[in-house]
């Protein structure tokens, strides 16, 4: 099996989801559907400016979308944005399984 080390760049996603509060916010939006910044602030247990900052990072990674309604901003999750992370896992899963097969062959040869 020939398998190139095809690069898959999921960097922005991994970074966006590396923070536990951001993961919590993304999870809450995935579970509950659309939420206001106020509701998310109550849920996350950190200040509203902090929540807004996290939402900006999530927005940049396209993990959330927002809309304005009156004085409130509503956010919802965009789970499709996880696709590069799924690709990354799938790619490296196949890559390492292939390399482990080679490693086992090598170890058997070393045995002799």
């Amino acid at each position: 099996m020939v398998l190139l080390v095809k690069p898959v760049n999921a960097n922005h996603l991994f970074r966006a989801l590396a923070d536990p509060t951001r993961r919590a916010i993304f999870e809450e939006l995935s579970r509950q559907g659309e939420q206001t910044v106020h509701a998310l602030t109550r849920y996350a247990g950190v200040s509203q400016p902090a929540v807004s900052k996290h939402l900006t990072v999530l927005k940049r990674a396209k993990l959330v979308r927002h809309r304005h309604q009156g004085r409130e901003t509503h956010y919802r999750a965009q789970p499709d944005a996880l696709a590069p992370m799924v690709d990354w896992l799938r790619h490296y899963g196949a890559f390492w399984r292939d390399r482990f097969d080679r490693l086992e062959n090598l170890l058997n040869r070393m045995d002799k």
């Binding site: 190139l4 080390v5 095809k6 690069p7 760049n9 999921a10 960097n11 991994f14 970074r15 989801l17 590396a18 923070d19 536990p20 509060t21 993961r23 919590a24 993304f26 999870e27 995935s30 579970r31 247990g45 789970p79 996880l82 696709a83 992370m85 799924v86 990354w88 896992l89 799938r90 490296y92 899963g93 390492w96 399984r97 390399r99 482990f100 080679r102 490693l103 086992e104 062959n105 090598l106 170890l107 070393m110 045995d111």
Partner: protein
């Protein structure tokens, strides 16, 4: 917070009928690494910067920039794995068994400095990963 590695990382685990010493050689000697993984200028020295080189493909020169993070002979080896500005970490753990060695490889896309903070967070991985698993679907 139990082991949630399977979805935030790629994990390969195999029982191998070889002693840890032999597997360690295959993981740490240049010519042996090249035979199963890629050509490299690895050295088993913490802090050592090195490269893996594979066949270039369109939009990628085939180079992986790495740095050795952990060297515990016959037990644990970790290095960073940088491609196209994306930093990930590969960790090998060798555990002796009556038949040989249990070899575990974990390739994590999350920055390692975060691992300390998420362990203390009130929010667990479980739900997030539940969602991710739905998205991943038939993966594996």
């Amino acid at each position: 917070m139990t082991d949630t590695a399977p979805t935030r990382t790629v994990v390969i685990e195999r029982e191998m009928p070889h002693p840890p010493e032999r597997i360690w050689r295959a993981l740490t000697e240049n010519s042996l690494i090249q035979q199963w993984l890629m050509s490299n200028d690895f050295q088993p020295v913490v802090g050592h910067h090195f490269q893996f080189r594979s066949t270039p493909v369109p939009n990628w020169n085939g180079i992986i920039d790495s740095q050795v993070l952990v060297v515990e002979p016959h037990a644990r080896l970790a290095y960073s794995w940088g491609t196209l500005g994306m930093e990930s970490v590969v960790t090998f753990t060798l555990t002796p068994t009556p038949e040989g060695t249990h070899l575990r490889m974990e390739h994590s896309g999350f920055p390692s400095e975060e691992s300390a903070s998420y362990k203390g967070a009130k929010y667990g991985w479980t739900n997030f990963l539940g969602n991710l698993e739905r998205v991943v679907g038939g993966l594996d």
